[in-house]
């Protein structure tokens, strides 16, 4: 994977010439096999598949130029490993090692389709040849993810051939910093990390702030559980983030940038490091970029595994080599941030949008989306949904379209219950609001938030009290402990929720949680604490009857909370095989051959072993 030695680019003209040359080179390869090496596909063995394709291409003596290429996440992680063959954009899914030879022989050399590896629409039974034919992709609009799945994230040449760094060249050669900011303003770009703050206003404030040393930071500390948008961008198209930061730094007047990446994302760190080193080699980072007077460098810092570091002031504290504790923001970070200097921090996805805005114009970007939320948003659509993966949609699309059309609905014939958005600061939205249009303001009105883009679908078997408990426990563990409302308030709320899920809930618990929530919102130091009650408040708002069932009837309607339901054996379904009886650690099951077994409720410890082991699903939760 060593790139060819490349000379430093001295001007925008050099860059364009090089891009032309690369485009010519890539045309030489008449056939191309693109293998996804995102974390999802890699986990399912795509590295090996890539190597096998490389070997096959090398050993092939046919008179064609065949290239095997590793690419970033296609988004359809559910169906990985994903392999796409050009020409024809033939989309193969769930490819395994033994399939490589067949794909190579049939499709690459023979131009024939291997039908069994195509995606089959479960509703219609129709096979899809290209990604565009798959419902998962057809309703999407890919802007930020447009390079994912097409370009090799480890080769700067691929990015340049695809028009990469042309936005930087445009900004440096024909735009003033003010022009850049006004295009971003025209675009209406708002922060993708969760806050939704207007990006141009942030840049402008930082540009106007007093002081010569200014910093730009890319927040890649994607901490929300159930979210992996930023990981896929950093892994799949790292140069788009770097180019965005370069343009932002030029607009703000900064010479030094930092990318703060989560410790749990080793592949993102690897790809970003390689990208920075290649960009430096080519003079796209460093002194006098493309012959201009603009100089800029980027350093990478890995996080230490603290969720609170996603908060801007905590992240800056961490960058300074201190524990990641936030501070009150009487003085904004754009005036006094990292090392007390003006600092502009944006999220990965925000940065990755910038090159496209500069290249295609703010007006184009503003043409996508709703009145106050422009452009597209990447969501990680996960949980109880058929098509799990990464989706990019225009703002304003309804939740229903995302979940039913793109996601294919809830699997196993189960009923949809709620979708959780916005991570631990967000909330759960029930079925009656599925037709709401997704944008920053609409989701906030529903008591949830856009957040960074996690979208977790939950089916009827999910206990909403437990969901609230999960997020509260998460936040309680991740609270840095600096301010009392967050440190003590969360512990108290968790204590109450633990009681409810164990069947020890009392009348008045819900009101007490409400009081604590108000207190946190009004007095906590940072957003982690201020929004910490959202998961609880939104579940109380929409699923009050579940709380009541736990508290008043000592019953968990979703049958998830141990102790608030019991196990019985369905006499009709029981085949009297004796497996449950043998495995029961409490000797609570009785029965003999050909006689349906029974559970003695008095002896049963509710461990669930019988439910796990029964091959006929005859053990039921009541």
């Amino acid at each position: 994977m060593t790139p060819p030695a490349l000379a430093k680019l001295a001007s925008p003209v050099d860059l364009e010439a090089l891009a032309q040359q690369f485009r010519g080179d890539s045309r030489k390869a008449s056939k191309c096999v693109r293998v996804c090496i995102g974390t999802g596909c890699t986990a399912k063995g795509s590295r090996k598949i890539y190597e096998l394709f490389c070997e096959a291409a090398e050993q092939c003596d046919a008179d064609v130029n065949i290239e095997a290429k590793c690419v970033g996440c296609h988004g359809f992680c559910e169906r990985g490993p994903v392999v796409v063959v050009e020409p024809g954009e033939i989309f193969y899914q769930q490819v395994e090692e033994p399939d490589v030879a067949e794909i190579f022989r049939e499709t690459v050399l023979g131009g024939r389709i291997v039908e069994r590896l195509l995606y089959e629409d479960p509703a219609t039974g129709k096979k899809a040849r290209e990604a565009a034919d798959i419902p998962f992709y057809s309703a999407q609009q890919r802007v930020v993810l447009s390079g994912n799945g097409r370009i090799d994230p480890t080769q700067i040449t691929d990015y340049i051939a695809d028009g990469g760094y042309s936005a930087l060249a445009k900004a440096l050669s024909s735009m003033t910093p003010e022009d850049v900011i006004s295009q971003v303003e025209l675009a209406g770009l708002r922060g993708r990390g969760g806050g939704g703050f207007p990006t141009a206003r942030k840049w402008q404030s930082c540009r106007e702030a007093k002081g010569s040393a200014k910093y730009v930071i890319c927040n890649g500390d994607e901490g929300d559980p159930g979210a992996f948008m930023d990981r896929s961008i950093m892994e799949g198209n790292p140069h788009s983030v770097i180019e965005g930061m370069l343009i932002g730094a030029y607009a703000i007047g900064s010479r030094q940038g930092y990318i703060y990446v989560r410790n749990e994302y080793p592949l993102a760190v690897e790809h970003l490091k390689a990208a920075i080193s290649q960009a430096s080699d080519m003079g796209l980072l460093g002194k006098n970029i493309l012959g201009s007077s603009f100089s800029f460098d980027i350093k990478i810092n890995r996080g230490g595994g603290a969720f609170v570091c996603g908060e801007s002031t905590a992240l800056m504290a961490s960058l300074e080599g201190r524990p990641g504790e936030p501070r009150a923001k009487y003085v904004h970070t754009v005036e006094s941030g990292f090392r007390g200097k003006p600092t502009n921090l944006n999220n990965v996805e925000t940065w990755a949008n910038v090159p496209q805005i500069i290249n295609r114009g703010g007006e184009w970007f503003a043409g996508i989306g709703t009145e106050k939320s422009k452009g597209t948003k990447v969501f990680s659509l996960v949980g109880n949904v058929v098509n799990t993966g990464l989706v990019e949609v225009p703002m304003g699309i309804t939740l229903r379209r995302i979940i039913e059309e793109i996601g294919g609905g809830v699997p196993d014939g189960k009923r949809f219950k709620a979708v959780q958005t916005g991570g631990p600061s967000g909330g759960c939205i029930p079925a009656e609001h599925l037709d709401v249009r997704v944008d920053f303001d609409e989701l906030t009105k529903l008591g949830s938030m856009m957040g960074s883009g996690g979208m977790i679908v939950m089916d009827e078997d999910t206990c909403m009290v437990r969901v609230a408990q999960y997020f509260t426990e998460f936040l309680q563990k991740e609270s840095c402990g600096k301010c009392t409302p967050c440190r003590e308030g969360l512990a108290q709320m968790l204590h109450i929720l633990n009681g409810i899920t164990k069947g020890d809930g009392e009348v008045g618990d819900i009101e007490e949680v409400g009081t604590l929530a108000q207190l946190l919102e009004g007095t906590a130091l940072c957003a982690l604490g201020k929004t910490a009650a959202n998961p609880i408040l939104s579940t109380i708002r929409y699923f009050r009857e579940e709380y009541d069932a736990h508290i008043l009837d000592r019953h968990c309607p979703a049958k998830e909370c141990r102790g608030l339901f019991h196990y019985e054996i369905d006499r009709e379904a029981c085949k009297a095989c004796g497996i449950c009886l043998k495995n029961c650690p409490a000797d609570a099951i009785a029965g003999e051959k050909k006689v349906p077994h029974i559970i003695y409720q008095g002896k049963c410890t509710l461990c669930g072993t019988c439910w796990d082991k029964c091959p006929f699903s005859a053990v039921i939760k009541v």
Binding site: T39, T42, G80, P225, G226, E264, N301, P323, V382, G383
Partner: protein, 167 residues
Amino acid sequence: MLENPKLVEQIVDRYSRDEGMLISMMQDIQAECGYLPADGLRCLSKRLQVPLSRVYAIATFYSSFRLAPGGAHEVTLCMGTVCYLKGAPDILEAVCKEFRVEPGGTTSDRLFSLQPVNCVGACALAPVMVVDGKYYDGVTPASAIEVLSDLPPAEESTEVIAKEDVA
């Protein structure tokens, strides 16, 4: 493996003695030693002229740092929302029970360290377990125990892992 003081010196130089890179330096020490040895931290504090209390504060604030040697294998269990909904707590419970290990702890035979983490960002594979960097998808309590039972014992694998870390 290098002696700790020498190693610390090398790492400090790697970051041009910039105390802002303290966390990165500590990550490098942990990558080399498998944990943060006390004398290494003392040495780091002296070299950078940063109070030892601050070094210790960092070591205990960030969950990825460890002050005692870990096991021969690194087992990460994702506790993200999706993994949680799909049964990660049961997997954690089963593994802890089977190998008599606490979350965040190491088995008594030093076979592996078990680290539950917030989210590894591979939600499409839920529930996910990562063993020495290899991702296992759709894990169940039984399959997790099976994978972990098949791990090669500490003596054989320590050297291999140390080599990989250095590379």
